[in-house]
Symmetry: C2
Subunit: 174 residues, 2 copies
DNA sequence: CATCTTAAGTCAGCCTTGTTGACATTCCAA
DNA sequence: TTGGAATGTCAACAAGGCTGACTTAAGATG
């Protein structure tokens, strides 16, 4: 069995062995890696947002609206996991600035369906391009097998509710 | 470069292969997974901190002080990547509450060296136990190979400065 | 020795983004 | 017709970032 530079044994490990390598030290390194990596993960879009009058919260809203055009406010709230008051502040400025269009639902007129305008789509594209560029670089450097493992661990780290939300987004839910 | 049990080199993968699977859709899934997973990652310690008068910032300070007892304030600032004013607010309350001890340096008396008191160590242990439990569950579920990949991608996602900080922590830097 | 620089701390004020609580409107559904 | 859901809004507050300005102590260097 080989040991890589992270000190994590790879090779044929039985489930009994799997317990062995989960020392507190290994776990702590993973925790710290997650902390540092998350900063790298957000740095590119953050740099773009700086100067524009927007923050990370705006980016997140734009991202998920782009992902599911026509998405209802309620669904966006569930995905983001914040209060409607918090979301509203962000959403209002995006609507006022003409980046997001909020249309009254046709079937149920209480609902608002959210769409990106051309300007909104343009900013979203710019932000997500920057973030994908970073992600792509990391993926390339680590290689395809590492990426598969990365995704597996992330899925396992989500709590159940979020895993469901993520899955429904992945599979084109609305 | 290491070769895993599938005989596929990880590290320098020919750029042709790497490009194949890096569709924008794949990258977006990774981005969203990172977003959702980070929430799961912080939820356990957050739950403990709620009710105590502390927040995530206190947790981070406790974590890194525990990691390197006697750490200088300057070094903690560099690791956390925040301003001294921000850190000071957090550190002051930890010191006042008797969780952290700040001692004047012996060699260079300008420096303050930070230590956890017994109470501080106890809280830190409680927080980090909770976070390790989550991490351990995710690692177990994903398996050792996935964990190795996870770590590789995270390392690649850090920017250079943070990778250095992380490495120095990993290798017992002070 | 005099001066420059570094480490640390502090005060004041500001911004973003989260939180509660209260309340209005609209409208589906029982 | 009435209850409850979805949405929006106002007000107030907290955490945790930020900048700018200034002090104190002490090492480093000419």
């Amino acid at each position: 069995m080989s040991i890589n530079r992270h000190g994590i044994s790879i090779g044929e490990v039985s489930s009994g062995d799997a317990l062995l390598f989960l020392t507190d030290e290994q776990l702590r390194q993973g925790i710290e890696a997650m902390f540092f990596a998350y900063r790298g993960f957000t740095s590119a879009p953050d740099a773009i947002l700086e100067g524009l009058d927007y923050g990370r919260a705006h980016h997140r809203a734009l991202h998920f609206i782009a992902r599911g055009q026509g998405m209802k406010v309620k669904r966006l709230l569930d995905i983001l996991g914040i209060t409607k008051q918090s979301l509203n502040r962000v959403l209002r400025s995006l609507i006022e600035d003409g980046l997001v269009d909020s249309r009254v639902g046709t079937a149920d007129k209480r609902e608002r369906h959210l769409y990106l305008t051309e300007a909104g789509a343009a900013l979203e594209a710019r932000l997500s391009e920057a973030q994908r560029r970073q992600m792509r670089a990391a993926y390339r450097q680590a290689g395809p097998e590492a990426v598969a493992g990365f995704r597996m661990v992330l899925e396992a780290m989500m709590d159940t509710g979020m895993r469901a939300a993520h899955a429904s987004l992945r599979d084109g839910g609305t």
